[in-house]
């Protein structure tokens, strides 16, 4: 710390002039640094903008839609894309596609995000507890979750949905159940890595109980692992939700949801292929932008 390396000096206050250059931006929090790094990534930034536009427009569906999503005039059925008054055409019952996309997007996005958040909380909590305590508790938790792991995700979600019945809530529940074990596994591994670090031992020796340690020492250090993994599940959740609805297990027609819309339009693929592409394209674009954003966030979180 002092400039002459060899002399034995008394305790001295740290000389700020000798501090590393990184300290110049020391006041900036980790979150802000990560944000700036994310914005520097052009792909991620564009994707984020597109995604936010999609999300915002579905939220504001009631305000910006020109029509009602449920009303349709038979005389207007199957108008092609670009028709006057119906920019994305109409479906087989004459309902405006744009409106149905906007309203339908709400369901799809909800079905993607909500189960992931639930799985992150539930799976994260279980994984952290299993990883921190280890031993019998850890083994018990992880082996029980392994039972769910034995089934392929889609099959399991179909089974659970079929058991629960139709409806948006039920598909959200089934996707949340399916997503929880992988999150728990990722968290358990991450916590095992941290658990033997000396700052955890130091926290224990100051008398902290396990939950205080998990909350303030373990969680912040595994949070980025959790975040990255969970964001990768969102697009999968959206696709599974749409798939479940496509199979008739989710939202029931006439409620718009991109998967349901794919189902009702699918037989028209020989009549007007462009129309059938619309909900699929919406799913594709949403899933793509989410994945690119998730990658960008993961890279941004690596910043030191």
């Amino acid at each position: 710390m002092s400039s002459s390396a060899v002399e034995v000096s008394d305790k001295e206050t740290v000389n700020l002039a000798n501090v590393t250059p990184a300290a110049a931006t020391a006041e900036e929090s980790f979150a802000r640094k990560a944000f700036r790094s994310f914005c520097g990534n052009k792909f991620a930034l564009v994707s984020a903008i597109i995604l936010l536009t999609i999300i915002l427009s579905t939220i504001l569906a009631g305000v910006i839609s020109p029509y009602s999503p449920l009303e349709g005039h038979a005389k207007d059925r199957l108008l092609p894309i670009g028709s006057p008054g119906h920019i994305l055409g109409t479906d087989e019952q004459g309902r405006d596609m744009l409106t149905r996309m906007l309203y339908g997007g709400r369901m799809t996005l909800l079905a993607g995000f909500v189960p992931v958040i639930v799985a992150a909380c539930l799976g994260g909590g279980l994984g952290i507890i299993a990883g921190y305590f280890g031993g019998r508790i850890g083994t018990l938790i992880m082996r029980v979750l392994d039972i769910f792991y034995a089934f392929p995700a889609v099959i399991l979600s179909i089974a659970i949905s079929a058991a629960l019945g139709q409806g948006l809530l039920n598909i959200m529940i089934s996707i949340a159940i399916v997503f929880t074990p992988p999150v728990a596994r990722v968290m358990e591994t991450a916590v095992k890595r941290i658990r033997n670090q000396e700052f955890i031992e130091a926290a224990k020796s100051s008398g902290a109980g396990p939950f205080a340690i998990m909350r303030r020492h373990v969680l912040p250090n595994v949070f980025s692992d959790l975040f990255v993994f969970s964001t990768s599940q969102i697009s999968l959740g959206i696709v599974i939700a749409a798939g479940l609805s496509f199979l008739g297990l989710g939202v029931a027609p006439p409620t718009p949801e991109w998967g349901v819309m794919l189902n009702s339009i699918k037989q028209l693929i020989f009549v007007d292929p462009m129309l059938t592409i619309v909900p699929g394209l919406g799913l594709f674009l949403t899933a793509l932008t989410i994945n690119i954003c998730a990658d960008g966030i993961r890279d941004a979180l690596q910043v030191k």
Binding site: M1, V8, S9, V14, V19, A23, F199, P220, N221
Partner: protein, 334 residues
């Protein structure tokens, strides 16, 4: 030495680590700490020295109850810490604090320096604001100014981080501080500064210190009494002068002969090679564990663990060489 008040007494502490096979059946046993006893006196520094793997760090963790001992007692304030119920132990826990070896993993990288230190206060019922105020005070005492306290550990050097680690240990106002290789990871020049800091705070806060290191010079500098360990057992124990001027145990003598000296005027080191290698702790030699490398080993050494023998006032050696020379009294414990 015995007239002074002993603030902590460790008696016959032992710990074995048992490796289990896949089905949970015990497979092999590592005897990490074996029958260790010593007394820590008030405001004094007790040095523990030995090679890597001799059990010094395990000993520290046993005293801190981060690892549970198999046998033995730790007497503090007339109570055996190892048999106290959790609730009572929690209130005593703050009296014994530790500074860890690795400055890079002993601070939480996601928390500011201030929070790293203040956390100890928060879990002991102090409000966040008050905890931070106290943390500032102790960071200042170790030489980290207030403007630095909101920074994160990654921005500091090793020596600076150890200062923060010391502040964190001090903030609970302990009576006993354990320094587990606290300067081993630092450059020599920084070591000197941090060691001086240790001495200053020991005096300022009236601490009793257990100083663990593999570096003989450091232990000599800092300690009043010294204990030498080998493969989990105590081989020699005494005041710093006795050990350094008159090492009795063959292992201690070998340690001194192979230690490099900073004195440029000293004649070239005689070429000294300690015989053999450190035996595996999974299968330590029977009897005296040092006998496989000891130039003076005799048959009696393999038969049983040698008892501690007092060769000088307060100076104990566990070696069969001295067992014959002693008079009737064999000092088993101090």
């Amino acid at each position: 030495m015995n007239e002074q008040a002993s603030v902590l007494e460790v008696k016959n502490l032992s710990k074995d680590f048992i490796t289990k096979n896949f089905f949970g059946k015990p497979k092999q046993k590592v005897s990490a700490v074996s029958d260790v006893s010593f007394s820590l006196y008030e405001k004094k520094t007790f040095g523990v020295v030995g090679e890597s793997g001799c059990g010094k760090s395990t000993l520290a963790r046993l005293i801190m109850r981060l690892i549970e001992a198999d046998q033995g007692e730790i007497i503090y304030k007339d109570a055996n810490l190892l048999s106290l119920p959790k609730a009572e132990y929690k209130s005593i826990r703050r009296d014994i604090q530790m500074v860890f070896q690795d400055p890079f993993s002993s601070l939480n990288p996601k928390m500011s320096l201030l929070d790293n230190v203040a956390f100890s206060m928060w879990v002991n019922g102090v409000s966040p604001l008050e905890g931070r105020r106290i943390a500032y005070k102790y960071l200042d005492a170790v030489g980290i100014p207030r403007s630095f306290a909101d920074r994160f550990p990654q921005m500091l050097s090793g020596g600076q981080r150890q200062r923060v680690a010391i502040a964190r240990a001090l903030v609970l106002e302990p009576k006993i501080l354990i320094a587990d290789e606290a300067v081993s990871a630092l450059d020599k020049s920084i070591q000197a500064q941090v060691l001086n800091l240790f001495r200053d705070i020991q005096e300022e806060f009236s601490l009793s210190v257990i100083f663990i290191s593999h570096d003989l010079n450091v232990v000599q500098l800092m300690s009043d009494e010294v204990m030498v360990m080998y493969l989990g057992m105590v081989v020699e124990q005494g005041s710093a002068e006795q050990i350094y001027n008159n090492p009795a145990h063959p292992y201690t003598q070998a340690l001194f002969k192979s230690a490099p000296s900073m004195d440029v005027k000293e004649k070239k080191l005689e070429k000294f090679q300690m015989l053999g290698e450190l035996p595996s702790p999974l299968n330590p030699p029977s009897g005296c564990r040092f006998r496989t490398r000891c130039p003076h080993a005799v048959e009696a050494c393999a038969l049983s663990m040698p008892n501690k023998v007092e060769v000088d006032k307060g100076h104990y050696v566990a070696c069969t060489l001295y067992a014959d020379r002693t008079n009737n009294q064999e000092a088993a414990v101090m």
